[in-house]
């Protein structure tokens, strides 16, 4: 199945793109999508402990299930305001 990956701020810079489409095997979780990404781009790994994640623009846990067509976002610590 296919998911859209969204990356922001420094994670986006490290990946060189803010939006990627990836084929992932079922059953998928946010964690399995992340692990696939880190396999491709090891530089992202440093963010595993500090990032937040979202599925379809709603905060989620790494263990959350991911379905075909979902948008999975990985976000560095925030600095708005």
């Amino acid at each position: 199945m296919r998911v859209t990956v969204r990356l922001f701020a420094r994670l986006r810079d490290l990946a060189g793109a803010g939006e990627l489409v990836r084929e992932v095997s079922e059953p998928a979780t946010v964690r399995s999508v992340w692990q696939g990404l880190v396999g491709e781009m090891p530089a992202l790994q440093d963010y595993e402990k500090t990032m937040s994640v979202a599925v379809n623009a709603d905060y989620a846990k790494m263990s959350a299930a991911v379905s075909d067509g979902d948008e999975v976002a990985f976000m560095p610590p925030v600095s708005g305001g």
Binding site: S79, G80, G81
Partner: protein
């Protein structure tokens, strides 16, 4: 077109929550809350500005990036939290994105309430929570380089962070 119809009343064009690349208008947002403020004795507002220095660096400008749909959702969640703490408060918040120069407003928060204490507290609570859980990032451009600023790991379920914001708001 029905010439006999009464003129359309001008309806509100100022949303109470927004994440936008357009310049922020604090007066317009305050007016929006004032329109229905007959039970309110206070309006407090907070405006965040881009300053020319940060951690010893001379800042040239900032670029704000947002995950917009989640940022709007998080801002609404923060308003819900504040309304739980100060049920009489009416609240609004706009956050800007894109390139901001020194002196530009990056965020405006407005709180109306029957008495000043709730308005001040709700304003303070909201800016503290924005810094904790809203997916927006500053890309700081300074003399000699640029850096992504990283503050808090956003977790809306972190009750300790929420309590910290409440304590600061009530200090």
């Amino acid at each position: 077109m029905n010439p006999g119809a009464p003129p359309q009343r001008e309806t509100s064009v100022v949303p109470l929550v927004a994440v936008t690349a357009a310049p922020l208008d604090q007066l317009a947002l305050s007016r929006e809350l004032e329109r229905s403020a007959s039970a309110d004795g206070a309006i407090a507002s907070f405006v965040g500005l881009v300053r020319d220095h940060n951690q010893g660096r001379r800042v040239s400008y900032l670029e704000y990036e947002a995950y917009e749909p989640l940022a709007v959702r998080a801002l609404n969640l923060i308003i819900d939290e504040a309304r739980e703490l100060w049920p009489t408060a009416r609240l609004a918040v706009h956050h800007r994105t894109g390139r901001l120069d020194i002196g530009d407003a990056s965020i405006i928060i407005v709180a109306a309430s029957p008495h000043r204490a709730e308005a001040f507290a709700a304003c303070r609570y909201m800016i503290e929570r924005v810094k904790q859980i809203v997916p927006i990032w500053k890309h700081e451009h300074f003399e000699g380089g640029d850096v992504w600023l990283e503050g808090a790991t956003a977790d809306p379920d972190d009750t300790a962070a929420r309590e910290t914001a409440r304590r600061i708001a009530c200090a």
